[in-house]
């Protein structure tokens, strides 16, 4: 899907956010008018339900207007629509006369809005379906050759990459990678180095028929003014399909870019100080989960 299309979807999502904001404000400030318009002013529950729906609309507005890429958040509106249609359906069934007609008209309108919400949400979610590209960089205060050679020994990578269980060089530029997967199972694949320029670049991709197609490169350049070496990492992988794909995507967690940055930070620690730095809050040094679930800062048993 094109970038242009994504931008359009995001604009649509943002418009829905403004809609939620407007509707929410009306439901909170004039609940009785809303109840009359919907033909439910005869119900004692309407007095509570309408403002509650208003609060919910405001929360849709908050996520849709507060997000840089709002389109996937349209799912929250879809969920809200489902709830609204259920309630409205009951209202139509329990009423007669002009109230029934009004409730039916509002229901029809909500069906229309649901279609728009669903369209936005589906288009917005589809973008995760393309090949994922991650980029990160770090500056290491060591000569370029040293940094290159450390990385060149791929078996070093698990020392600073949180989710990587092992990398074994199998000769001829080939290597066998193992990643911790969900439920204690691991995912494995073979990769081959496709470009290797000493002191400058290492590039690899997974061999044909791997469980997860992935490729990457790391470039080494001199940082200006004697600041050491700039390390530029590019990673690409196919979107998760099946168990193996999900396990692979988990490699990079909820925030993949952050994960790669953290890995690179540990790489810098190893290069500059000799090892991954540990604190009592994250005594293993390398467990990714510790970024969100710290131990208390007191010694380990």
């Amino acid at each position: 899907m094109s970038e242009e299309h994504h931008r359009k979807t995001d604009r649509l999502a943002r418009a829905l956010g403004w809609g939620s904001l407007g509707l929410g404000v009306i439901q909170l400030t004039a609940p009785n008018a809303v109840a009359r318009l919907s033909g439910v002013d005869d119900s004692p529950w309407a007095r509570i339900t309408v403002p509650l729906v208003g609060v919910r609309e405001l929360s849709h507005a908050a996520v849709l207007l507060g997000s840089r890429r709002p389109a996937p958040w349209a799912w929250t509106r879809v969920a809200g629509d489902a709830l609204d249609l259920t309630v409205l359906g009951c209202s139509v069934a329990n009423r007669t006369g002009w109230r029934r007609r009004r409730a039916a008209a509002v229901t029809a309108a909500v069906v229309g809005i649901t279609a728009v919400d669903l369209y936005t949400a589906v288009c917005g979610s589809r973008r995760t379906g393309r090949r994922v590209t991650l980029r990160a960089a770090i500056t290491v205060n060591r000569p370029r050759e040293d940094v290159y050679w450390y990385w060149h020994d791929l078996e070093n990578l698990p020392r600073f990459m949180a989710h990587l269980e092992s990398v074994r060089a199998t000769g001829d530029g080939r290597s066998h990678w193992k990643v911790k997967g969900p439920a204690g199972r691991s995912v494995e694949w073979d990769a081959v180095i496709i470009d290797d320029r000493p002191g400058e670049l290492i590039a690899w991709h997974s061999v044909e028929g791997s469980a997860v197609g992935n490729s990457g490169s790391v470039r080494f350049t001199d940082a200006p003014g004697g600041r050491g070496t700039e390390v530029w990492v590019d990673l690409n992988y196919d979107p998760p399909v099946g168990m193996a794909g999900v396990a692979f995507a988990k490699l990079f967690g909820e925030d993949p870019e952050q994960q790669v940055r953290d890995d690179l930070r540990r790489f810098k620690q190893v290069m500059e100080t000799g090892e991954v730095v540990r604190s009592e809050g994250s005594p293993e040094g390398i467990r990714a989960i510790r970024q969100v679930m710290q131990r208390p800062a007191q010694p380990v048993m």
Binding site: Q258, R265, G274, R278, E280, P283, Q294, A297, V300
Partner: protein, 389 residues
């Protein structure tokens, strides 16, 4: 071992916890002989610094005796007596090599958390929340000191703990606060806050050649102490500080202003105090910047505002117009302690400064909760509490 732990806002408890172990090859384990409560510990105590966890051991001002070293530490041996700087610094990264130890690029394992709040991450600090690394602190019987080959300063036996303990933080912090003022002959320096750091900033400003130093606080016993060091004083509850400083400097304003207060400042006008206090309570801003605002407005055109009081996150109503239009320079830092250890130890040894004058209370580690309470409430003219395990 026993350790003073943070147990939620306004609560600290001395608890039995496991003894520290070597986790990295450049670690040392120190048996603590003296440790102190810092003004910034009060910010943690009061819950104003985010990312604290129940059970965190507090304390970043401590010294003691080395009992164990990791395989990569060759400059220290068991039995050595050391003071430990509060910022944890590797000595290898480019920040450390430029002497900017408190922004060490490697010592914060939780740099990702700090980046979200501050853009980039500073160094790890002992006992100072998880966004500063999640390190256990030094208000305990023992502590693990990472990068022990870089930070700790060996102390000969003739100097008592009380004379050298404050090399760990507040003496170098006050010194650097004055140094950031670029003091030139004739300069008048104003210091907001006459707590321990403010006292050292006053003393340092004189040692660095200030013509006059003006200390600002609201506690007479603190102002009296600054007077004894040669400062003129202002009680901000009695006078309008801006007017008074204008008068005292013949209309120019102080050449440089030091904020040694930080995020829990007070204001004599109840309405203004309540405005920021309420926003802080509602977590709309994290820091109450009364002293900082006043320092910026008071400073002479083209002058320097040096910020060593601790800030945690965001401030509101920042006088940017004054800063930009009046050509002011604002500098701030967690002190690069490692840079100042030797020169300041020399000054202590030759008698040009004796930091022990700030100590008002000496307690056992067990009494830490009482110490925090007294220090927070400024009971019994409390200025600085030293704890011994």
């Amino acid at each position: 071992m026993k350790a003073n732990c943070w147990m939620g806002r306004g609560t600290v408890e001395v608890q039995e916890v496991p003894d520290p172990k070597i986790l990295n090859s450049r670690d040392a384990i120190i048996r603590i002989t003296s440790t102190a409560i810092c003004g910034s510990d009060l910010h943690l105590y009061q819950g104003f610094i985010p990312t604290m966890k129940k059970g965190d051991i507090l304390g970043h001002e401590f010294m003691g005796e080395v009992v164990e070293v990791g395989p990569q530490v060759s400059n220290l041996q068991p039995g050595d007596r050391v003071v430990v700087p509060f910022p944890i610094a590797c000595g290898n990264c480019s920040a450390c090599q430029h002497g900017q130890y408190s922004v060490c690029e490697n010592s914060n394992p939780n740099a990702g958390i700090a980046e979200k709040l501050m853009g980039h991450s500073p160094a790890g600090i002992f006992g100072y929340s998880h966004m500063f690394g999640g390190y256990a602190g030094g208000q305990a019987e023992y502590a693990r000191v990472p990068f022990a080959d870089v930070g700790p300063l060996k102390i000969e036996d003739d100097l008592p703990d009380e004379k050298v303990l404050f090399l760990s933080d507040i003496l170098p912090t006050g010194w650097m606060g004055a140094e950031m003022c670029d003091i030139k002959p004739g300069d008048i320096i104003a210091v907001w806050g006459a707590g321990p750091v403010g006292q050292f900033a006053v003393a340092s400003a004189f040692l660095q050649g200030a013509e006059r130093v003006i200390a600002i606080d609201r506690f007479p016993y603190r102002l009296k102490k600054a007077e004894r060091a040669g400062a003129e004083t202002l009680d901000y509850e009695e006078v309008d500080v801006l007017d008074a400083l204008r008068d005292m400097t013949a209309g120019r304003g102080p050449d440089a202003c030091i904020d040694a207060v930080g995020i829990e400042a007070h204001h004599p006008a109840p309405a203004i105090y309540a405005y920021d206090r309420a926003k802080q309570a509602a977590r709309i801003e994290t820091d109450r910047p009364f002293a900082l605002r006043e320092a910026i407005r008071a400073c002479r055109n083209g002058g320097i505002v040096s910020v060593i009081g601790a800030y945690g996150g965001l401030v509101d109503k920042f006088p940017m117009g004054a800063l930009m239009n009046r050509s002011l320079t604002v500098r701030g830092a967690q002190c690069h302690v490692q840079r100042y250890l030797r020169p300041l130890l020399d000054r202590i040894r030759n008698g040009s400064i004796d930091p022990s004058f700030v100590i008002s209370h000496r307690m056992r580690l067990d009494e830490a909760p009482r110490g925090y309470e007294m220090f927070r409430n400024k009971e019994d003219e409390c200025l600085k509490v030293v704890l011994t395990p």
